[in-house]
């Protein structure tokens, strides 16, 4: 124990004041008059009896008050070791259940070693079990019950997430703040190098935490994996579908690996690929002959390594008939169907089949089979066809209108309905062209991959945008792309043409994603199938689909969403590798293949010097043999007793006030 400001202890001399008040002042007796001292003799009381202290309790309180006050101002503290008695220490067992722990018997070894550590725990000692991958899962609270702790260890199952020692350190810091006791952290892991955070500082443990590592492997082991697969999520023409796979080796010698494409459990193609030492090799399958509907596909290699789980890469493919698009244009316009059709074919991989018709022939066209109608700068439109279009839109159809120079002769945009205010021929003006000024990134046609930079617009039709949503504007604030909902359908207006005359938009690469996203947006189709990594999130509903139930079936066949989550959750985290089946709010069905993060396939371990740096012990230091006997970092932490002293001062002051009031009250009565 010490004092931060010992000079304040001199204030304790003030105890003389109450002693004076009680002892000396009380006995300065006031002389009492008496008739005569004739019969009296001088008698002095013995000092002990005469000078007896009165109100001993009150005096004691006053002395205590002054001494405590001086003590409080002297700021007493006691030095407490950061990790003191083992009885106060929390034994924290962190077991790695990331994807890489599936290799060989790593997880079983880790659990066995954790159980042996628990067996050495003193009966009165508290322990807590956590499992960690990309997140830390707290399995028990700090408890003494060995049975509960053992059951928690045995319940740990291998996961598919990526191990993160940074997340573990973050969780330990939180636990240390809550526990307020020394922590002995035992980490049971394969110490995978990829589990380290980018910044070593994220792994630093707080004071009071002593780290004991239990690596289940001592060195790196070679491992092959299917690192990535590039396959379409939807297929409309199996002959045009391609599947590309990348086979990677970590710490492996050069070898030839056999790669097979498996669809719904049946191997439909097989290739051999030579993989260089610790290198990568790609393999391509020229067709993906899958039946209609969703197929569960995987690319598999014969690796014969310890981590078999990463030898297959899963992905889902849905086969559907292509959707038809009616492209209506003037007979004289032969350019725009080419640009639009090429862009759609390039982007959507035959998801859409474009039917180009001239304005004159469009009058007899039945619009029912079409998922989308495009009006490309039509100068005139038969009224019957326009009425059919309106009914088509109100019934849920989508229409894209390109208003090029032909619109200058009209006063109103057909179907869209808004009036034409002006026609801007920028090529005739000083600036020659304008660019896109601002866009609404929340709208699918303008958002995501569409970058409008560098696109020049030479002509634009200015329309009254009072009743529609402006998705993009030119730099002169002329609305370029407008969106309007009519009935159940939707109409978009591009205030320029698609013919590479009124702008150079079709020549820019962004034209392709623009056309694809606009077609998907207006036709109501989105990407399905494909693959996702573990721990990624899946959108379950849009903002308009609230309170509509969705259903998720995980790879094990369970429905992980509760009833409340099924009607309210907007996203779902994919935590397991395998195929997830989704029944979404709009009635669509989807299947996605989920694969573990392939960084987990690199089984290289953290170098010993880094581990020594993390544990804070020299490299040569032997590992701890007995739990709770390891000398923790005996940092002496001063713990201030100021608050306790002030609390005692307060208590003494209150008691003194009450007691003094009582005595004074008695004196008043006596008076």
């Amino acid at each position: 124990m010490g004092f931060l400001s010992p000079w304040f202890l001199a204030g304790a001399l003030a105890v003389g004041i109450p002693i004076y008040l009680h002892l000396l002042r009380r006995h300065t007796t006031t002389p009492q008059p008496f008739s005569s001292l004739m019969f009296l003799e001088h008698r002095t009381q013995s000092s002990i009896r005469h000078r007896r202290l009165r109100y001993l309790l009150l005096l004691s309180l006053r002395l205590a008050l002054l001494v405590l006050l001086a003590l409080a101002f002297a700021s007493p503290y006691i030095n407490r070791p950061a990790a003191s008695a083992s009885g106060d220490k929390l034994l924290l067992l962190a077991i790695d259940n990331s994807f890489s722990m599936r290799a060989g018997s790593r997880l079983a070894d880790a659990k066995r070693e954790a159980l042996s550590v628990l067996a050495d725990k003193s009966p009165a000692g508290r322990a807590q079990i956590v499992a960690f991958g990309s997140q830390v899962n707290v399995l028990t609270q700090p408890v003494e019950d060995a049975t509960t702790l053992r059951a928690a260890v045995e319940s740990i199952a291998p996961g598919d997430s990526r191990g993160s020692l940074g997340e573990l350190a973050h969780a330990v810091r939180s636990i240390a703040q809550n526990v307020r006791a020394p922590i002995e952290l035992h980490v049971f892991s394969d110490m995978q190098k990829s589990g380290m955070p980018a910044n070593f500082a994220e792994m630093v443990l707080p004071d009071g935490v002593s780290l004991v590592l239990h690596p289940v492997v001592k060195s790196s082991v070679p491992n092959w994996t299917v690192e990535n697969v590039n396959a379409p999520g939807e297929v409309w023409d199996p002959k045009k579908a391609r599947v590309q796979a990348v086979v990677a080796g970590y710490g492996t010698p050069a070898a030839t690996r056999s790669v097979s494409l498996v669809v719904n459990g049946k191997t439909i193609a097989m290739r051999s690929v030579a993989v260089p030492a610790s290198g990568r090799a790609s393999v391509e399958f020229q067709s993906l002959d899958v039946p209609y509907g969703f197929s569960r596909c995987e690319v598999r290699i014969d690796s014969a390594d310890s981590l078999r789980a990463d030898d297959a890469y899963t992905f889902a493919v849905g086969r559907f008939d292509p959707q038809r698009v009616l492209f209506v244009h003037d007979a004289s316009d032969t350019r725009s169907p080419v640009y639009f059709g090429s862009a759609l074919a390039a982007a959507a991989e035959s998801a859409f089949a474009v039917d180009s018709v001239s304005t004159e022939r469009a009058a007899n066209t039945q619009l029912g089979p079409y998922a989308l109608v495009v009006l490309s700068d039509v100068s005139s439109l038969p009224s019957s066809f326009e009425n059919d279009l309106l009914r088509y839109v109100r019934g849920g159809g989508g229409v894209l209108i390109a208003a090029g120079t032909s619109s200058a002769r009209r006063s109103r945009i057909p179907v869209f309905g808004d009036n034409i205010l002006a026609s801007h021929y920028y090529s005739r003006e000083a600036e020659r062209f304008v660019a896109v000024g601002e866009t609404d990134a929340s709208s699918p046609p303008a958002g995501k991959a569409v970058q409008w930079a560098g696109v020049r617009f030479y002509y634009a039709t200015a329309v009254d945008a009072a009743n529609s949503r402006v998705v993009a504007r030119l730099t002169d604030q002329t609305p370029l792309l407008l969106d309007k909902k009519i009935g159940e359908g939707r109409v978009m207006l591009l205030a320029s043409g698609l013919d590479n005359l009124t702008n150079d938009f079709p020549l820019h690469p962004i034209f392709v994603p623009f056309v694809e996203q606009t077609a998907r947006y207006l036709s109501g189709t989105e990407r399905r199938g494909g693959s996702r990594p573990v721990d990624s999130f899946l959108d379950l509903r849009t903002a308009k689909e609230q309170a509509v139930s969705v259903e998720v079936i995980d790879p094990t066949g369970h429905r992980p969403l509760s009833l409340k989550e099924a009607t309210s959750a907007s996203s779902y985290q994919l935590t397991q590798a395998g195929f997830y089946e989704l029944h979404l709010a709009n009635g669509r069905q989807d299947v996605v293949g989920v694969n573990a993060d392939r960084r987990e396939s690199d089984l290289a371990v953290i170098p010993d010097d880094v581990l020594s740096l993390w544990t804070g012990k020299p490299k040569e230091a032997p590992p701890a043999s007995a739990v709770g006997q390891e000398p923790a970092r005996q940092q002496l932490k001063p713990r201030s007793l100021w608050w306790y002293a002030m609390l005692l001062v307060l208590a003494a002051a209150v008691a003194e006030s009450l007691l003094a009031s009582r005595y004074l009250g008695v004196q008043r009565e006596e008076e």
Binding site: Q32, P33, F34, S36, L37
Partner: protein
């Protein structure tokens, strides 16, 4: 009526005349129930008329029968001379309960004067003394004598200390006529010296009565803790303990009282202890007893 004799009640009455009247009236009302005491209008004797006697006192019935003039004498008309010697030393100022010894002495003296002058038609006088004679009012039955005496009592403020020897020769000058001498004092002097000093007054045929006025706390002091006491006369300080006051002091004061009583009796004087929390009738009763004995 007894409550009118209570000193604490009398202390609340402002005028000495009213105090005296209250005391005496209350005392007399109590006496009527006693057969042992005669009164002033009670027949005592016949005396032959001599020239100069007041004809109003001639018993004309006897004169009619005997043709001799006799004066009818009553007991009350056996004139006595009452002189009160009042000690006005500082020690008389002591009090423990609101009525000081001086007040009590004033009440006693005033009551005695009232009783003597109004009821007994005795001549009464007053000598106030401490270490000197401070005031002297010649005994008389003249009109206004009572008022003069009461005024003398009012003016008798204690100061200085008691010294019986010094004013003694003045007493002897003043007390040439035979009568009753009442000395009211706390007698803080050795009993032998007190008796020796006062005894000469007895030689003139005076009936001398010592009224020893003491506060109850002087007889039975009650100290809760050691205290420093100050002598009211000498201003000396003395630290005393409760144990001493409980034991030795009580024994000494009792011995002092006893010595005074014995000394007075052996010298042919009467002694009466007046405690200031006791009713005043004791003093009056003593006076009447003595007076009756004289007649």
């Amino acid at each position: 009526m007894q409550r009118f004799l209570d000193p604490s009640v009398l202390g609340a009455i402002s005028g000495l005349d009213l105090v005296a009247k209250t005391v005496v009236d209350g005392f007399v009302a109590g006496l009527h129930r006693s057969p042992d005491f005669g009164f002033s209008q009670e027949f005592a004797e016949y005396r032959a008329y001599s020239p100069g006697d007041d004809l109003r006192h001639v018993d004309w019935n006897v004169f009619a029968r005997t043709e001799r003039a006799y004066l009818k004498r009553y007991r009350g008309e056996t004139n006595s001379l009452l002189t009160v010697l009042l000690d006005a030393s500082n020690s008389m100022n002591y009090t423990s309960h609101g009525v000081s010894k001086m007040d009590y002495a004033r009440f006693t003296a005033a009551s005695l004067f009232y009783l003597a002058i109004r009821d007994q038609r005795d001549a009464a006088g007053l000598i106030v003394f401490d270490d000197e004679v401070r005031n002297y009012i010649r005994p008389s039955i003249r009109q206004g004598q009572l008022q003069r005496l009461l005024s003398g009592l009012e003016l008798a403020e204690p100061h200085a200390r008691t010294d019986f020897a010094k004013p003694l020769h003045h007493f002897q000058e003043f007390l040439r006529r035979r009568g009753i001498v009442l000395m009211i004092s706390d007698f803080y002097e050795s009993p032998e010296k007190v008796i020796r000093t006062i005894e000469p007054l007895r030689f003139h045929g005076n009936e001398v009565v010592l009224f020893h006025v003491l506060d109850p706390k002087e007889i039975r002091p009650d100290l809760g803790e050691p205290a420093v006491l100050v002598d009211l006369e000498t201003r000396e300080h003395l630290e005393v303990t409760p144990e001493y006051m409980r034991n030795e002091y009580r024994r000494k004061i009792d011995a002092h009282i006893e010595a005074l009583r014995d000394g007075a009796r052996s010298a042919g004087m009467d002694y009466h202890l007046l405690v200031t929390d006791q009713p005043l009738d004791g003093a009056l009763r003593e006076y009447l007893t003595i007076r009756q004995g004289r007649n």
